[in-house]
């Protein structure tokens, strides 16, 4: 025992090695897997595998998290890239739409230019004049292009304004809505004359229409051509409000050519008067003048020739027709002679082209039916 105690360490070593050698020898000798020593392996595997599972779970979650983070980072970058692409495409789309609208407008202007009898000059609006109340724009055509002060400016939709100053390379156009603008107009249906005037807003007012005149809401007004600026027959706008005033009728006009901005205009270099279009043929969308050969006075619906706009003028013409129908020459009858029958309808009486030869002793103021009844 003393020997073992003295060499205790070596003894333990030899015992441990001997035990393992026996274990090893048993395995080598058995050569059969079923006769292996599974107990030690079971202990070791049971001790190790839970930790291995835990580590594997942590690792897989960490890797997944990292992958997801990288994926999300890529998605964020991709999202930003797509947003930039969309923004660029929106700008391109807006630019192309603008170009397309410009092309459409130019096409419309060209069609209008080809059909209108007036000689026009295409111009582009390049700026506006300062001032909150002023309605003045600059166009890119000036005296070098043949523009002169006082020329009318229109679009296919209607009148825009007039040139108030012409410079070598640009012109200043006073718009229809400016308070200092004025142009003669005539209504399409009732042929009422007036004077359109700007209000400094988007609408205009028509002055000098008597309360007795008839103007309907929605009635179109065309240029009358008597202001020396606009040729007759150009659309000015549509009456949107009509009311009687203390001295004259108040008619508010919605300008036809100033809807949706103004970019391209036509300057009338040589104006040609045109008839006021019929209601049935007037297009609310676009106004195209008939060809120059067809530009004739449109007869009135009642078959009579167009007369002046005032009531006195119409009354004078009516009396002249009555006189002609009754072979009466105004200003030739003596005092006390019989006047013509002013209550007679001039349209029913046969209108003779030449007066009959004077009857001897007859009074020229005697109506023909009574003269014929004389013996």
């Amino acid at each position: 025992m003393d020997l073992l105690s003295r060499y205790r360490n070596l003894t333990v070593l030899l015992l441990v090695i001997f035990a393992q050698l026996i274990l090893l020898a048993y395995q080598v000798k058995s050569k059969d897997k079923d006769k292996d020593v599974p107990l030690v392996r079971v202990w070791a595997v049971t001790a190790v595998t839970p930790l291995a599972n835990l580590i594997e779970t942590i690792r897989s979650h960490t890797v997944d998290l990292a992958d997801n983070y990288i994926f999300l980072r890529d998605v964020r970058e991709q999202n930003q890239r797509i947003k930039d692409e969309i923004a660029r495409l929106k700008i391109d789309n807006q630019y192309l739409r603008s170009e397309l609208e410009t092309a459409d407008r130019v096409k419309t202007l060209s069609a209008f230019q080809a059909t209108t009898p007036s000689r026009t000059l295409l111009a582009r609006v390049i700026g506006t004049a300062p001032g909150s109340n002023s309605r003045v724009v600059f166009v890119d055509r000036g005296t070098h292009g043949g523009v002169m002060r006082g020329m009318a400016v229109i679009t296919p939709e209607g009148i825009v304004g007039k040139v108030v100053a012409a410079y070598p390379t640009a012109s200043q156009v006073l718009l229809l809505t400016d308070p200092t603008f004025s142009a003669g107009v005539i209504s399409q249906k009732h042929r009422v004359h007036g004077d359109v005037r700007g209000l400094g807003q988007s609408k205009c007012q028509i002055d000098y229409i008597q309360n007795e005149e008839t103007v309907e809401t929605g009635e179109k007004f065309y240029t009358s051509g008597d202001d020396g600026v606009f040729p007759k027959g150009l659309l000015a706008g549509t009456a949107i409000a009509v009311q009687s005033g203390p001295s004259s009728k108040q008619v508010f006009l919605d300008p036809a050519a100033l809807h949706g901005g103004l970019e391209e205009v036509l300057i009338i270099v040589e104006g040609v008067h045109q008839p006021i279009p019929d209601i049935s043929t007037a297009s609310p969308e676009i106004h195209l003048q008939p060809p120059a050969a067809a530009a004739q006075e449109t007869p009135r619906p009642d078959g009579q020739a167009e007369v002046a706009g005032t009531e006195a003028d119409r009354l004078r013409e009516k009396y002249e027709q009555i006189g002609a129908a009754q072979n009466h020459v105004f200003g030739t009858g003596l005092p006390g002679s019989k006047p013509p029958d002013f209550n007679a309808d001039p349209g029913k009486a046969p209108r003779k082209t030449a007066p009959p030869p004077p009857v001897a002793g007859g009074s020229p103021d005697i109506p023909p039916d009574k003269a014929a009844a004389r013996p």
Partner: protein
């Protein structure tokens, strides 16, 4: 030279059997070393050359400075390593039992806190372990394994370098007085 010798040689009476180490570490560290060898080479095959169970055996044997403890630690770690492998039980057990015993014997005589000494011991015991393993497999199991001295020396060098870092890390787990 005398100072270095004084530092490496320690008093057998004063420090023998002193192991200021947390008890859980005696289980957790070998288990972690075995897990490392089982798990990590799946993803990093180059790390399969690291023999962490052997380094842990050396460290604990040197630290305990007790041949019986070193023997038992080596036997336990070796058998655990054997049981997780496909080889015969006892091959790594006997190798690490011998390493544990001799490492503890060295730890009794020398100051194992010295880095250079740790490097030399790791290198030497790795070669000794590989030789024992080769001999046991060759003699008792009958398998013809090659033994490349150059390759073994390089791997021993790498393991010794890793062992220095590992020992330094394990020193942090010691209990503080």
């Amino acid at each position: 030279m005398r100072d270095i010798g004084d530092r490496i040689l320690i008093s057998n009476v004063r420090e023998k059997g002193h192991a200021p180490f947390r008890r859980w570490a005696f289980v957790a560290v070998p288990l972690a070393a075995i897990l490392f060898q089982v798990y990590v080479p799946r993803f990093f095959p180059v790390l399969s050359y690291l023999e962490l169970p052997l380094l842990v055996t050396i460290y604990f044997a040197l630290l305990r400075r007790n041949q019986i403890a070193g023997t038992l630690i080596g036997a336990a770690i070796g058998l655990a390593q054997d049981s997780l492998g496909a080889g015969k039980l006892g091959v790594f057990g006997i190798s690490k039992t011998l390493v544990g015993y001799f490492a503890a014997s060295v730890g009794v005589r020398l100051d194992v806190e010295h880095v250079f000494l740790r490097f030399i011991l790791c290198f030497f015991f790795f070669c000794f372990h590989e030789l024992c393993h080769w001999a046991l497999v060759h003699i008792f199991v009958g398998e013809q394994l090659g033994f490349d001295i150059g390759n073994t020396a390089i791997v021993a060098l790498l393991n010794a370098l890793v062992g220095i870092s590992l020992f330094h890390f394990l020193d942090k787990l010691k209990e503080r007085n």
